[in-house]
Symmetry: C2
Subunit: 389 residues, 2 copies
C-alpha cells in the first residue's frame, strides 16, 4: 500500500504521464490514508465475527502451513474457493490453475504470454483502466468491444478476425454487467471458430449469483482456447493478502507457465489456508451475509442521494461492490476535488472509458466494501457538495 | 507455491520452451513437496525462538494494521529493514521506495519501465535466470557483463555506449561475489558520464556484511540515474510473505511509478509489520545468528563432500545462502537426475550462465537456508551418488 502521490509520480515520470489526474490507481493512492476512502474497490469493511475467528487462528494456520505439503494446501484452497462460486468444472487436478499474488499479476502474466503470438486484443469498454494499461504496456494494440455489442448478440466476425484474443470483465467493473450463460456459450463458440483466445476476468463474481453459473463447463465444452482470472481480493477485508488465480485451457498454446515461472515460485501457503478458511465461512452463510451487507450500503448511498437534482443511478441492477452515479451536467473531477477538501475520496469515471474518457467525465464510482458509517458520512458530504450547502 | 511440473509446462507451451530441463524456477517447482528440497534460494529453515514470537503476535499485528495509517506503517517497515542493512541514506522520505509483492515483481516493473526508452541492457554473467528471462520477456536485448570484467576495473566505454542500463546482482546469485564500495563509486561515475541507468539487485545482501556499506550514499553522490531492488524474501522463513522494494533516484526518468500503479495498489500492511518486527529482532542479534547458521550449514556441506575426488568448492569466500560445487568431469544434470531418485533436489547451474549454459554444466547449487538435518541428509546422498556407493 504504497503512497505515490500523483504529483510526485508526475514530476519524475515521462511527459506521457503528466496528466493532472493520473490513472485510477494513482487517484486511489491519494485516498489510502483517509477515513473516508471510498475510492478503491478493495474490501475495507470490518471482518464479520465468523471471519474474525480466522485472525485468532493465524498462529495455528502458520504451523499447519509449515508442516503440510504445499501441493495439498493449494488444492484444498482453490477447491474451496472455486466451488463456493459454483465453478465445479474448473481444471484443478492437472496443474492448470496458477496461483498469483493478485489478479493484476495474473493479468500481467497473461499479457506477456499473449504478446508472444498476437499483436491485438479486443477489450470490453468501459472497464478498470489498469487492464488496458497492462495490455498496452506489453505492446498489444487494443480494439474496443462496447458492452452493448458484447451483450447484444454475436460479436462481429470482422472484429474476431482482427485480434488474437477477446478480454471480458464479468461482472464488469464499474458497471456490474454480467455475461449470461447463453452469451458465454455463443462467444466461446465464435472464439473457437476463429482460433481467438477468450479471456475472462471474473474478479467481482463473488458479489453476484448471476455470475456464478459454471463458466468452466461452458468453456471446456466449446473447445475454444481460454484463460480465466479469478480473484479472492475483492470479497474479504484481508489486508491485501489475496490470490489471483490464472486458469487456462489445455489447448491454450500460450507460454503462461513459463512467464509465471519468471515471476514467481508460488504464493504463500498461509494465504492459501486463509482463503480456504474464509471460503468455508462464506459457504456457511458468510457469502449471503456479504450480499446483504453490500445491498444495505448500496441502499444507503441511494437514500442519501435520491433527491439531488440531476443525479442518477446508472446501474440499477448492479450487485457488485461499487456503485456508479451520474452527476448530470457537473464535472466529476470538479466534484472529486471539492470532496477531497472534506477528506472524502470517490473515483471519477473518465479513465474507465479507456477508448473515450469523455464518456465518463460526469460519473463517479463509490466503493461499497466499507463500514456503513464511512459510506454514510461520505455520501452526506457528497450530497452537501452537490446541493451547494 | 504452485506446482507446475516441468513436463506439464513443456507439453502445453511453445516450442521454445520444450527443453527437457526447463528454467531454474521450473526445476525448483519439482522440489517443493520434498523434505530434501535444497533447490530454491528461499528461506525454509525453522524460525528461531526470537522470530517465532512474531507468529504468536500475528493477531495483534493484524489489529494494528487495521487501525493505523498505512503510510506510517510503511515508513516504519522500510526504515527498520534498510537501516538493519546499513542503508542509512536511502530515500525513504519522498516516495521513492515502492513496495512490491516480491523482488521479481519489482524486476518486472523495472523492465517494463526501462523498455519504454531503451532497447538493450548489460547484465552480469552468470546470474539467476529469471533476471535475463524477465528482461528478454519485455523485449530488451541483453549484453553479457562478465563478473571478472565487472570487478576488475572500469567497464568498457564501448559497452556503456551500447546499452540503456547496466544490471548488477550484488551479492551475486549463485557466486556470492560482492561489488566493493570502490568499484560501485567508479561504476556509478561511469554510468553518470554515459547517461546509463545503474540497476542493482541486492536481494542477498543481508547475508554478507561486505554488501552492507551505504550504497545509496554512493549512488546519490554520483548523480547517475539509478534503481535498486531490495528484498526481505531471502532472509527469514516467512512462508513466502515478503516485500521487494523498488527504489529509484529522483532523476531516473523512467515511468516506474506508473507501471507500478498498473500492477498494484500496495503490499499488505500485515507483511510490512512482520518485516518491521523481524528487522528489529535481526538488529537485536538475529542477523548475527543467521550468519552463524548459514556458516554452519556451509561447513557441513564442505565436511560431507570434502573427500569426493574431483569435487571442488567454487566460491570459497561466499557468505550468501547458497553454495556452488564443481563436479569435475561429471554432468550436473546426470547427478541431479540420480539425486531425484533419492527425493533430494539441488539445482544444476547451466542456466545461471544465461549467455553460455555450457559453462555451468558441471556445477550444482545447494541451498543453505534449510534445517541442518536436511542439509546433512541431502549432502550425504550426494556424496553416495558421486562416490558410486
Amino acid at each position: 500500500m504504497n503512497v505515490v502521490p500523483v504529483n510526485e509520480a508526475v514530476s519524475t515520470e515521462t511527459a506521457d504521464d503528466s496528466r493532472i489526474d493520473g490513472n485510477l490507481t494513482q487517484l486511489e493512492y491519494l485516498a489510502l490514508n483517509s477515513d473516508f476512502n471510498l475510492s478503491d474497490g478493495h474490501a475495507r469493511q470490518e471482518l464479520t465475527p465468523g471471519q474474525g475467528k480466522m485472525v485468532g487462528e493465524l498462529p495455528r494456520l502458520w504451523a499447519e502451513a509449515v508442516v503440510r505439503p504445499v501441493e495439498e494446501i493449494e488444492r484444498e484452497s482453490h477447491r474451496a474457493f472455486f466451488h463456493l462460486l459454483g465453478q465445479h468444472s474448473y481444471p484443478g487436478a492437472d496443474g492448470r490453475v496458477l496461483a498469483c499474488y493478485s489478479s493484476s499479476v495474473a493479468m500481467e502474466i497473461f499479457a506477456r504470454a499473449l504478446v508472444t503470438e498476437a499483436d491485438a486484443i479486443a477489450l470490453v469498454h468501459p472497464t478498470f483502466d489498469n487492464i488496458p494499461d497492462i495490455l498496452r504496456g506489453v505492446g498489444l494494440r487494443l480494439v474496443p468491444l462496447e458492452e452493448d455489442v458484447l451483450h447484444g448478440g454475436d460479436v462481429p466476425a470482422e472484429l474476431l478476425g482482427s485480434v488474437g484474443a477477446i478480454f471480458v470483465t464479468t461482472p464488469n467493473n464499474p458497471t456490474g454487467r454480467v455475461l449470461s450463460r447463453e452469451r458465454l456459450v455463443r462467444l466461446a463458440e465464435q472464439c473457437a471458430e476463429h482460433g481467438v483466445v477468450l479471456a475472462l476476468d471474473t474478479c467481482f463474481r463473488g458479489f453476484d449469483e448471476a455470475g456464478q453459473y459454471d463458466h468452466y463447463e461452458v468453456l471446456e465444452a466449446s473447445g475454444c482456447r481460454w484463460v480465466v482470472i479469478e480473484d479472492t481480493g475483492k470479497l474479504w477485508p484481508t489486508l491485501e493478502l489475496k490470490i489471483g488465480w490464472l486458469v487456462r485451457s489445455a489447448n491454450v498454446g500460450l507460454p503462461l507457465a513459463k512467464v509465471y515461472s519468471d515471476i514467481l515460485l508460488g504464493v504463500s501457503p498461509l494465504v492459501m489456508l486463509m482463503v480456504k478458511r474464509l471460503s468455508e465461512d462464506a459457504a456457511d452463510g458468510g457469502l449471503r451475509d456479504l450480499h446483504e451487507f453490500i445491498a444495505t450500503n448500496r441502499a444507503l448511498v441511494r437514500a442519501n442521494l435520491h433527491d439531488v437534482p440531476g443525479l442518477t443511478f446508472v446501474d440499477p441492477d448492479s450487485r457488485v461492490s461499487v456503485e456508479r452515479i451520474h452527476l448530470g451536467d457537473r464535472s466529476a473531477m470538479d466534484v472529486w476535488a471539492a470532496l477531497r477538501e472534506h477528506n472524502v475520496y470517490l473515483l471519477p469515471c473518465g479513465r474507465f472509458h479507456w477508448a473515450d474518457p469523455s464518456e465518463g467525465d460526469r460519473m463517479l464510482r463509490i466503493a461499497l466494501s466499507r463500514s456503513p458509517a464511512s459510506v454514510d458520512v461520505a455520501t452526506r458530504a457528497l450530497r452537501s457538495v452537490l446541493m451547494g450547502d
